[in-house]
């Protein structure tokens, strides 16, 4: 929490004025019982109607002043708290954009999102509460005690017992309540899981005639939940009755002590009423205070989670060029020099000893099962991750010595999962090159076999894509992401299993067109289908992060049993067929 306080600094004025006004309001509230005492002691005792009128008028004035004060306080604290969360969200968003992939992988998308939304929201609520209550509640509780001491030191001694006793009860019940409600939440989560699972698998459940068994399981989970709810409810139901009893017994005590003082002539009746009123005021504020401390503890946890993101290492180091990196004469050569990659220290290597090179304009096909390291390999070219050993070189230069943005602007990446942003098709394509005109965009679309369907869409390039591309089919999305990469006319084009949603015919057309692109990029194709890569100049067969086969299609059929196996599985024993 402390580290996030700096986001309040643009709102220093508000953050000070808010609590101050709140305190003023509380101050006026504390004066009211004294006025009542005055009315009883002076006004009623002397039968002085004007005096009573005066005091009541003062009461009203205090009320108005208190209202103004608390409205100002609410205004300032809302402004400060919301302003603070605005700053946090801005920095979070900016930071997430700069995180290295290793970091975003470590956090995971849903974690990052919930930190930027729910956690920031919690912090905002807590700060707002702090600004409003952090002076008011303690001020009223202790103010009431101080005022009572002013009225009658002897009677006010009751406060010294009451405040700790109430605190123990309130905090005790809340503290025990938290783990209990966490248990309830856990049980509820299980019931939710059961329900969701059952509905998602309705076909299977019925296919196996397991309806009755499911109901039995659900009823059991549900019973457990109810049991926990009742148990925790029974416990928290103690709060009100217990505090009520303590407070009222204290009132009796303070009146008794006050009465004794009156008997000896140290006090007057009105003062006893004032003591009674002060005692009544503290309960509400103590309950608020306890709630507020719980919210603060929660918010501190949220703040910690936010900080973790804000302090995550940014981007990647740029290394100085090594002496050994002499530019080579072959242009645009991509080279992997004995590359190994582990995503975190001590983790199993995702790639080991990858070594190959490809001249400019040629095609590399990469094939292997899931988890064999295909995507990891191509992610090293735009330096999404840093190698843990060896080096990836472009034109003979280690990618770690190049400017990240300049490097990436030369590479077109088409991700495995087609990622489009809400906005028009044109806006999405312009990511590739902000200066491209419509002709250039359509040239890219046509090369990606997407020109025809885009022309047919209402609005063409101005067709609006919904969030996540929901209003496009999987194949359309993939072709658009390919076009986006082509708009940039990249020197290196990476297709990371990007044609999985295309049928064979479209896939074939796509490969034909990409092979004849005028700017002839060096091409990396990752695929599970041998058909997609069989024409490549170099095919790498990966298994468990290692290259187990390297060569052309024909060579690999001869030399690499795994490649042959994959190929046979997909096409049957081809030689026997002839249509």
């Amino acid at each position: 929490m402390r580290k996030l306080i700096r986001y309040l600094s643009p709102y220093k004025k508000e953050a000070i004025l808010g609590p101050l006004f709140k305190m003023l309001e509380a101050f006026f509230e504390l004066l009211i019982p004294l006025l009542v005492a005055n009315i009883v002691n002076e006004g009623i005792a002397n039968g002085d109607r004007t005096y009573i009128l005066q005091r009541c008028a003062v009461m009203l004035i205090f009320g108005v002043v208190g209202l103004v004060c608390s409205l100002s306080a609410q205004f300032f604290s809302a402004k400060a708290a919301v302003g603070m969360s605005r700053g946090i969200r801005h920095d979070l968003f900016a930071r997430v954009g700069k995180l290295s992939f290793a970091e975003t992988d470590r956090f995971g998308a849903s974690t990052l999102l919930s930190r930027a939304t729910a956690d920031v929201g919690q912090v905002q609520t807590a700060v707002n509460l702090v600004l409003r209550l952090f002076l008011r509640s303690p001020f009223i509780v202790f103010g009431a005690m101080v005022m009572s001491f002013i009225v009658s030191p002897r009677a006010a001694l009751v406060f010294l017992v009451t405040i700790p006793a109430l605190s123990v009860v309130i905090f005790g019940i809340m503290l025990v309540g938290i783990p209990l409600s966490r248990k309830v939440q856990g049980a509820l989560d299980r019931v939710v899981l059961r329900t969701r699972e059952n509905l998602e698998g309705a076909r299977v459940v019925r296919a196996f005639v397991r309806e009755d068994a499911s109901v039995r399981e659900f009823v059991d989970e549900n019973r457990e939940l109810t049991h926990l709810q009742r148990f925790s409810g029974r416990f928290s139901a103690l709060l009100n009755p217990l505090t009520y009893a303590i407070l009222n017994l204290s009132i009796l005590a303070i009146i008794y002590l006050g009465g004794k003082e009156v008997n000896t002539g140290n006090l007057r009746t009105g003062d006893v009423i004032a003591l009674y009123n002060y005692m009544s005021q503290i309960l509400v504020e103590l309950v608020k205070l306890a709630n507020f401390i719980i919210i603060i503890t929660k918010a501190c946890a949220c703040a910690g989670r936010i900080n973790e993101v804000l302090e995550a290492p940014e981007g990647m180091k740029v290394y100085p060029p090594e002496n050994g990196d002499t530019p080579q004469h072959v242009s645009q050569k991509v080279e992997f020099c004995d590359v190994s990659l582990a995503y975190s220290k001590g983790a199993k290597e995702a790639l080991s000893h990858i070594d190959f090179s490809i001249p400019s304009g040629k095609t590399v096909g990469i094939i292997g099962g899931t988890g064999s390291g295909k995507s990891s390999l191509v992610h090293l070219i735009p330096r999404f991750y840093d190698v843990s050993a060896g080096a990836v070189k472009i034109d003979g230069k280690d990618v770690r010595t190049l400017d990240e943005r300049a490097l990436r602007s030369r590479i077109g990446v088409v991700p495995q999962k087609a990622a489009l942003f809400s906005g028009t098709i044109r806006e999405n394509l312009l990511w590739g090159d902000a200066a491209a005109d419509d002709d250039a965009l359509f040239a890219a679309l046509d090369a990606a076999v997407a020109g025809d369907f885009v022309r047919a869409l209402p609005g063409g390039l101005d067709y609006r894509i919904e969030q996540g591309g929901r209003n496009l089919s999987g194949g359309q999305k993939q072709r658009l992401t390919i076009a986006r990469a082509l708009v940039r006319r990249p020197e290196i084009l990476i297709l990371d299993d990007s044609a999985s949603a295309l049928d064979y015919a479209t896939d074939a057309a796509l490969r034909r067109r990409i092979a004849t692109l005028p700017f002839a990029p060096t091409l990396f194709i990752v695929s599970q289908r041998t058909a997609s890569i069989r024409d490549a100049d170099l095919i790498l067969v990966l298994e468990n992060g290692e290259i187990i086969g390297k060569g052309t299609h024909e060579e690999l059929l001869e030399t690499c049993p795994v490649y042959r196996e994959i190929h046979t599985a997909q096409f049957g024993n081809g030689e026997e067929v002839g249509v």
């Binding site: 196996f208 005639v209 009755p241």
Partner: protein, 594 residues
């Protein structure tokens, strides 16, 4: 306040809720009685304290014996109030959580009987939220309603009566001024409702933007679009800040305003009360009564504020109740006919006779389809993705009933046999694999929970799943949570193992598409072959060999059955199948042959 938000609950919803309370009649009456006791005691205490104060007149004039007698009564009242409040809370707990449990059980039980069309036409998340969140809202509403609504109303009535007996005229002051705080509160609430809606609209936009930027971070970075996105984000962020500041400030004016109105009441009572004490005579207040009156004046306004909150809560509860009753009241599947036969030792002969089907009358899908599948024959279903291959599965498993014609299994109409025996006859492995949260062994034994470990291992071995299961951290006892480490292919192997435990004579299989890794795919293929040997099978086919070797090919397109026949026949027909085959498959084969 919240009325505009929560759609109105249909009539009779309240009565339905009451019917769920019927089993808790004892607690209901106990709760009402205890509420009355609590309120009476709570209200009696200020009166008693007022009398105590009247015993404290001045120096040497304090009536201690009487004070002690009054204290005894006070302590009795305090104890009774505290105890009865606690018991009331417990009764309310039992009631509302019990109703909640019964409602959820009823809803879940009913969901096992709804036709699949009900689930298919709804978002799962929506149904879940009805069973969970809406039911919760109802029970929260009940709990709050009982703990605060009754005590609130009783407190208001009780206070009024006590005040009237003390001094009718001053009571009038309280009764006239207090409603002001309600007016102010509802005024502010109405105004801020729009602001909050605006805030959540903008927040939705901002969250959507963040979600895109975060989930597609790699793309953003690959295209160096971070700064452009940040600018867009800042724009929305500023809008949100403005909207939030307004909404939060205006809504936070409620408390100070009602506090101010309470202050007015307080001052009024102090003024008129003090004058009445001075005036003296019959019907005038004593000093103690004045202090009692002041205590009442603050107490009187509180339930009003609470009740207006409770009313909104109750409306929400009724709306929640209506939504969960909608689930419970949705029509159930037509039950099995009373004379439904049990399929015994089925051979697996399947006949589609003049079969017609459509999900909606406007879009007929299957029209007068006739096929005869002898026991042990293999049928391939082919077509582009999304062509509606699941429709046939839906009909075979009787997840849906045909709109015309009939399906016969071993010569019996599907509708004339029990669902249970039908589903024991047909085994199904879908590509969208579904596993429960349980261990690997529990999942394999899904259809036969009493299977021994030996049987389970045997089934897993037959399904080529044994090897990878042994590699899991706890082998067969590895729990499968959400988002676990199994690949899609491995999950499908588990689903196949499920079938090996009790091999049914008819199979529905869904072949993997290319996204499963090749080696697992080969194992799945082998497992499928083992399953299919000697059994009638319907295979949603993606691979050439399966298609060519089947006894009958059904070609689907846009949800419709467009062609049927053997491979050669269909090719010769030069229809959609030939087109599909030539564009997708032949190319690969030609190259192969070269």
């Amino acid at each position: 306040m919240k009325t505009r938000q929560s759609q109105k609950a249909p009539r009779g919803t309240g009565r339905r809720v009451l019917s769920y309370l019927r089993g808790y009649r004892f607690y209901l009456f106990a709760s009402l009685f205890l509420a009355l006791v609590t309120v009476l005691c709570t209200l009696a205490i200020p009166v008693l304290i007022g009398r105590v104060i009247d015993c404290i007149v001045g120096k040497g004039n304090v009536d201690f014996p009487r004070i002690f007698r009054l204290f005894e009564m006070c302590v009795a009242c305090i104890g009774t109030a505290a105890l009865s409040q606690w018991l009331m809370n417990i009764a309310n707990n039992r009631m509302s959580f019990g109703v909640l449990r019964n409602l959820r059980n009823d809803a879940f039980r009913h969901l096992q009987k709804v036709p699949l069309s009900y689930l298919d036409s709804r978002k799962i998340g929506d149904v879940v939220s009805r069973v969970i969140a809406d039911a919760d809202q109802l029970s929260d509403g009940l709990l709050l309603g009982f703990t605060q609504f009754f005590t609130g109303i009783l407190t208001i009535l009780g206070t009024l009566i006590f005040m009237l007996t003390l001094h009718p005229a001053i009571t009038l002051v309280v009764v006239l001024v207090t409603p002001l705080s309600l007016v102010v509160a509802s005024f502010i609430a109405r105004r801020t409702y729009k602001m909050f809606r605006l805030q959540s609209e903008i927040r939705g936009k901002e969250t959507a933007l963040m979600e895109e930027a975060i989930t597609q971070h790699k793309t953003v970075v690959a295209f160096s679009e971070e700064d452009a996105l940040l600018a867009r984000f800042d724009d929305v962020n500023d809008q949100l800040t403005k909207a939030s500041q307004r909404a939060i400030f205006f809504s936070s004016t409620v408390n100070p305003s009602t506090r101010f109105v309470n202050g007015l009441v307080y001052a009024g009572v102090a003024f008129f009360g003090a004058l009445s004490v001075i005036a003296g005579g019959s019907g005038a207040l004593s000093v103690g009564e004045l202090s009692c009156f002041l205590a009442y004046a603050t107490q009187y306004t509180k339930p009003f504020n609470e009740i207006s909150g409770v009313i909104a809560e109750l409306q929400g509860a009724l709306a929640g109740a209506a939504r969960i009753f909608e689930v419970i009241d949705s029509p159930a599947e037509t039950p099995d006919a009373q004379d439904a036969a049990v399929l015994r030792a089925p051979r697996g002969e399947v006949v589609f006779e003049n079969l017609s089907f459509s999900y909606t009358p406007e879009r007929p899908l299957i029209d007068n389809m006739n096929i005869r599948v002898r026991a042990g024959e293999h049928i391939a279903i082919v077509g582009p993705t999304g062509c509606g291959k699941t429709t046939l599965i839906n009909l075979l498993m009787r997840f849906y009933d045909p709109t015309g014609g009939r399906i016969l299994i071993d010569g019996k109409d599907l509708r004339s046999v029990t669902r249970e025996s039908l589903r024991h006859t047909i085994g199904m492995v879908l590509q969208d694999t579904w596993l429960t949260s349980g261990t690997v062994a529990e999942n394999i034994a899904f259809g036969k929970p009493d299977a021994t470990r030996e049987e389970i291992v045997a089934a897993a071995t037959a399904a080529h799943a044994h090897a990878f299961i042994l590699r899991l951290p706890k082998g067969y006892d590895t729990p499968l949570g959400e988002g676990d480490a199994l690949s899609r292919g491995e999950k499908q192997l588990l689903c196949i193992a499920r079938l090996f435990l009790e091999l049914p004579p008819v199979l529905i299989l869904d072949e993997a598409t290319s996204s499963i890794d090749t080696r697992t795919e080969m194992q799945i293929q082998k497992a499928f072959s083992a399953l299919m040997a000697g059994r009638t099978s319907f295979v949603v086919a993606h691979r050439l060999s399966t298609v060519r070797e089947s006894d009958l090919i059904l070609v689907m397109r846009d949800g419709k059955l467009v062609e049927q026949g053997k491979h050669e026949e269909l090719l010769a027909r030069k229809g959609f199948y030939a087109e599909l085959y030539n564009s997708q498959l032949q190319r690969a084969e030609k190259k192969e042959a070269r």
